[in-house]
């Protein structure tokens, strides 16, 4: 079996990473009608870069993004920062293992990571004195994980070499 990381890719450009985070934040700020099934795009893109580029994107980036989305959403400062740090840690830690699998099994790993980060958010909310919001809160991470192959394809678009060059 050939690990999916063995494709020879061009080195990543910093502009791709920054641009993808900007687009993810933009998608999160869209005025959705019902937020419950909408995946957290920032978490998904963050997991992607932590898996693919663990040396460039890590806990520091995760924490900063978490603070930004905390302030933007008016929740307790540090709630998403904690969740994203946990997510980045798990993704960096498992990155070599995850890249060895095919897209479906990768999604499964990502689902677990996203569920863990959602659990961290839930834990903070419960500790702050909120009522238990119900199990549908865990649906969004599963939907996000199902989007993983699409995200992989999209975000690697700029790194793929042209087909003729790869054949050489």
């Amino acid at each position: 079996m050939i690990p999916s990381s063995s494709q020879i890719l061009q080195p990543v450009r910093l502009s791709t990473i920054v641009g993808s985070f900007a687009v993810a934040l933009f998608l999160n700020f869209l005025p959705w009608r019902d937020l419950r099934p909408v995946p957290d795009f920032v978490a998904l893109v963050l997991a992607f870069w932590c898996v693919r580029q663990p040396r460039l994107v890590g806990l520091g980036v995760a924490w900063t993004l978490g603070l930004l989305s905390d302030a933007g959403n008016g929740v307790l400062l540090g709630q998403h920062a904690l969740a994203y740090s946990l997510l980045a840690f798990l993704a960096v830690w498992l990155s070599r293992r995850i890249l060895w699998f095919g897209p479906m099994l990768q999604s499964l790993h990502i689902a677990l990571i996203l569920l863990a980060s959602q659990a961290a958010v839930l834990f903070v909310r419960l500790a702050a004195g909120d009522a238990f919001p119900g199990w549908p809160i865990f649906v969004a991470p599963l939907i996000a994980a199902a989007l993983w192959p699409v995200v992989t394809w999209l975000l690697l678009l700029r790194q793929r070499r042209p087909a003729n060059e790869q054949a050489i």
């Binding site: 700020f29 302030a71 933007g72 959403n73 904690l82 740090s85």
Partner: protein
Amino acid sequence: MHHTPPPFFKRGPAPLVRLLFFASLSLALLVIDARFRYVEGLRSWLALAAYPLQRAATAPIDLLSAVSEYLSTQASLIAENERLRERALANAQGAQRYLAAQAEAGELRRLIGAAEKLPVQSTPAEVLYLGRDPYSHKLFIDRGAVQGVKAGSPVADETGVVGQITRVHSLVSEVTLLTNPDQAIPVQVVRNGLRAVAFGGGNTGTLELRYMPANAEVQPGDRLVTSGLDGVYPAGLVVASVVSVERDPEHSFARVVCRPTAGVDRGRYVLILTSDVAPPPRPDEAQSSKDRRSDKTRRARAKEKQGDDSQ
């Protein structure tokens, strides 16, 4: 012999150490924010940084509505015109009666020497987006400290009260909706003037009148308006209508569930209501109003926690 790893193996501290560092930083921030509110400045700066993205995110919606407006057919416009004219007629009648009633009420109030009702100004604002957390019952509007918005002002739409401004950043403000479990609003039953306090019901999207005695005179269909007793909400704004009243002889309180009249979770435009003149301070209060508010929320939280424990 001393070995140092080649520079390309250097990756900084181990991931677990970094996780512990950032996690403890987050926890410290959480505690500071939840307990002491020292980080409002940092929050404002971060909100300002996120503002361009928030504005950009509402742009496609604006574009869509502009396009659909442009493409709306003549027939639908004529129908809408007709409907609006009918409504204007109905409203005009109500407005005339309102003016007469207002004049009469003013005269009566002068007679009994009561203070003139404070004039209320309204500022229109556009809803930028809902809070990312669907359970926090907050929304963000595109008016902030620059436009003179103050924390604590009530927010309404054309049908009734939506919520209250709880945090003001420089360009955006945060509105806590009526349905937030921590939000309370003093109300009055229109039919008989009975006073009560309505609390948010959380995810059910309803309000609840707590601590109403089991024999209180409330019935389904009653309309609730603000009583204006707290000095925050102007009196007479429509809040909700009663949906169901459960009287259980085992409990000393009735369970009264109401549905908010305003589109608390719908609608794109809201009004911020402000009154310029501050009401006179209440006699028994030495504390400033800000301290009082934070105290109140803390007490409410503590109470809820106790309730959770006892269950």
